[in-house]
């Protein structure tokens, strides 16, 4: 539901929540995803300080490791920090604090996964959306000396 393109519902539009299954309590909850362009650049909201709203997501899966929760964004945004595209974000599993993000040319689809080859860790994520056809992207850190 939106009025002239601006969502009617109050943000956050999308969250990631860590639940303690022993107690059934929320350990942390964060807005996941860059504030959509239609909100961040909206004339009606000019001058207001809008905290990160997260994004209404569709079929975005998470990857959980020993220390991290990794999930990409489902919306294309264009910000001062990155060109038209989406971010793959990593959060501290215990606190929900964002600890890193890398750029993707299109939104994530499905879930990221990770694997180890010859001592090198990779993260693979499927992306597509809008006119961008489906692709797999693999990320890794440069080897020592590279």
């Amino acid at each position: 539901m939106n009025i002239d393109g601006l969502p009617l519902v109050k943000p956050p539009y999308g969250t990631i929540t860590a639940i303690n299954l022993d107690k059934g309590e929320f350990v942390w909850q964060i807005a996941h995803g860059e504030t959509p362009d239609v909100v961040r650049n909206n004339e009606a909201l000019k001058g207001l300080n809008i905290p990160p709203t997260g994004q209404e997501t569709y079929n975005i899966g998470t990857l959980v490791t020993k220390t991290l929760v990794i999930a990409g964004e489902g919306h294309v945004t264009t910000t001062a920090d990155h060109p038209r595209g989406a971010m793959l974000r990593a959060y501290d599993k215990m606190t929900g604090k964002e600890v890193g993000a890398v750029y993707m040319p299109a939104p994530q689809t499905g879930s990221p996964m990770t694997y180890l080859v010859n001592g090198k860790q990779y993260i693979v994520v499927a992306v597509s959306g809008g006119p961008y056809s489906g692709e797999y992207i693999a990320y890794t850190l440069p080897s020592a000396g590279e």
């Binding site: 393109g5 239609v38 004339e43 994004q55 209404e56 919306h75 809008g130």
Partner: protein, 153 residues
Amino acid sequence: MNVKMRNAAAILVLAAMACPLGLLRAQAPAVESRSVWDGVYTEDQAKRGEPIYRKECAACHGDMLTGGESAPPLTGGAFLANWNGLTMGDLFDRIRKTMPQSVPGRLTRQQDADILAFVLRVNKFPVGKTELYRQSEMLREIRFEATKPAPKK
């Protein structure tokens, strides 16, 4: 031909050249400023598109355009965000080249334009007096804007 007459002829030629340029300049901003908020399809066209959508698209994209397990929604925040700032030509060509998934390009340009008119109506973009074009190059002149632009001052 005396000097005076030659000058007059030269002025006439200049005037003839200036005129179409002037017209072009006057028309250019109107073309550039068109977006999906300017009424780029008709109600009748959306009505024609609906049964084609139901038959050709709904099985994957859903009756309400909300998407399915492997097909993205064609309405809502992600859809609007992913096309925001691009053109109707981009969206139309995407449909032409990849849809329907079983036999891409099987539908005619007119059918694809009618489906797109239906999609615009579901997304509550305003109806207009002229039908949505079926030519990609003309559709590329219509910007896809997720939010209604502020009225021009």
